[in-house]
């Protein structure tokens, strides 16, 4: 993953807010990932337009805990689980 990669949610997954658990959840074939606030915020910005670098910059203003490394690490895990796709054009 490069800072210029543009992540977006795979068409096969849904990010929804679960009113019962009061958490964002990512629903994929055969898996449910319960998100913390940071994870939900990162995924909320994965629109296929913003780059990883832009997502990091945008979140830095909102969350003290989001550091540069955390965003690509999180997204790499989700790419491996087929939940996020990257375009590098």
């Amino acid at each position: 993953m490069r800072p210029s990669s543009r992540p977006k949610l795979s068409p096969h997954v849904h990010l929804i807010f679960d009113q019962v658990r009061e958490r964002h959840v990512l629903l994929a074939p055969e898996s449910v990932l319960v998100m913390n606030a940071t994870g939900a915020a990162i995924l909320g910005l994965c629109d296929g337009q913003r780059t990883v670098a832009e997502i990091v910059a945008e979140l830095r203003g909102q969350y003290n805990c989001v550091i540069g490394e955390e965003v690509p690490n999180f997204l790499t895990r989700l790419v491996a689980r087929w939940c996020v796709e990257l375009s590098d054009d």
């Binding site: 096969h12 019962v20 087929w82």
Partner: protein, 390 residues
């Protein structure tokens, strides 16, 4: 109290296939009085309130019910992720389009082998060509596709070709799951259990394919627990993550648990919330307090939860015992003996039902409104799927 993530909705046990490892209960006649569309819709509403996020529509063959698209539509309205687990038979273009419009998210199609002769022989009916047609239709309509393959002695050597077929139909996922020996599969275990060298060979093929197809196809390999040292963490723990609703409304911690001697719980009598949180059935093996030794003092008790209650019951007659698959179980000899027998004669055995009637389920079809108990079928001939070369 934990909340369930997934609901396995077994809409009907009717099915056009007659696989020797069928996961339907043996007593099919008890499930003829199926929930209505409105009852299923109520169950889905209760499930969502309880925390369920994923709906797995299964059976039998779920497409034997005419209201699947209606049920999917309701689930979609509630925000549930919907997954259809089908043989592929009955997935016509018209029905597929209805399901697409209703919001169905994912389709899993079973195949029995990589070609028509073997696949049809194992399924007990000509079906392979229609399954492949259905798989192509799923891709054409833009769904993610999973191919489900139950592995056993008669198809495990074909795993490389099965994965080749999955690549050809562009499946996103393949689930290679070793047979779980309950019910019908238990009856036919001696003919289905693979040898150790078959298992080792299959694992090495699956590992290599996973490496080669990284990023293109996900390969899920469910271990053959008879060949493992420790048991599987069945269902992620009893009453922890999943629940099953059977065609007649019975609610179960896992689909095989209908065989256990426990008080039943049914959505026609009680709410799903009460059943999940309070019913004696769901309390029976929740947590660790019920465990005997060696589980109670074992460091793995929160990892595998003592293994599978249904397997313990199937093998020992006592559902509270340690899963005999575990090498620490006092009953492990029962599993070791079955494994020894499977390896003492490594020839391919006759596939169940080719010579003895009644060895496979015949849970009826569309023309046959109710489920038919296997006992009623003793003496009937198997329909189709007979390979003249056998």
């Amino acid at each position: 109290m934990t909340r369930p993530f997934g609901l396995l909705a077994e809409l009907t046990y009717r099915c056009p296939l007659h696989c020797a490892y069928c996961s339907n209960p043996l007593n099919l006649a008890d499930y003829r009085d199926e929930l209505t569309t409105a009852e299923w819709q109520r169950v889905l509403a209760e499930a969502r309130e309880l925390g369920v996020l994923q709906l797995h529509l299964s059976g039998g063959e779920p497409l034997q019910r005419r209201d699947v698209a209606q049920i999917v539509g309701t689930a979609t309205e509630f925000g549930l992720y919907t997954n259809l687990i089908t043989s592929g038979l009955g997935l016509s273009r018209r029905r597929a389009e209805q399901l697409r419009a209703a919001g169905l998210d994912h389709v899993q199609i079973s195949i029995q082998a990589d070609g028509p002769t073997e696949s049809d022989r194992i399924a007990g009916t000509p079906s392979f060509a229609r399954k492949i047609e259905a798989a192509r239709l799923v891709k054409e309509l833009g769904w993610p596709l999973t191919l489900n393959v139950v592995l056993h002695r008669h198809n495990i050597d074909r795993i490389a070709d099965i994965l080749g077929l999955a690549e050809e139909v562009q499946a996103e996922r393949v689930e290679l799951a070793h047979t779980q020996y309950y019910g019908w599969a238990w009856r036919n275990r001696d003919a289905l259990l693979p040898t150790r060298s078959q298992v080792e060979q299959a694992e090495s093929v699956a590992r290599a394919a996973r490496e080669r197809l990284k990023g293109r196809m996900e390969i899920v390999y469910v271990l053959p627990d008879y060949y493992e040292r420790y048991p599987k963490p069945c269902m992620g723990g009893w009453g922890q993550r999943q629940l099953t609703v059977a065609p007649n409304g019975d609610v179960l911690p896992c689909p095989a648990a209908q065989a256990l001697p426990l008080p039943s719980a049914n959505v026609r009598a009680d709410t799903l919330a009460w059943i999940w949180t309070q019913s004696p059935l769901f309390q029976a093996f929740r947590g660790t307090h019920w465990m005997p030794d060696p589980c109670q003092s074992c460091a793995r008790r929160e990892i595998d939860f003592g293994g599978c209650r249904c397997q313990a019951f199937q093998l020992t007659g006592d559902a509270a015992r340690t899963d005999p698959v575990c090498h620490l179980s006092p009953d492990h000899g029962l599993v070791a003996a079955a494994v020894r027998a499977a390896n003492s004669d490594t020839r391919l055995r006759t596939y169940p039902g080719e010579h003895e009637p009644g060895a496979r389920p015949h849970p009826g079809g569309r023309t046959n409104a109710g489920a038919v108990a296997p006992a009623e079928l003793a003496g009937t001939t198997q329909s189709g799927g007979q390979d003249p070369a056998d």
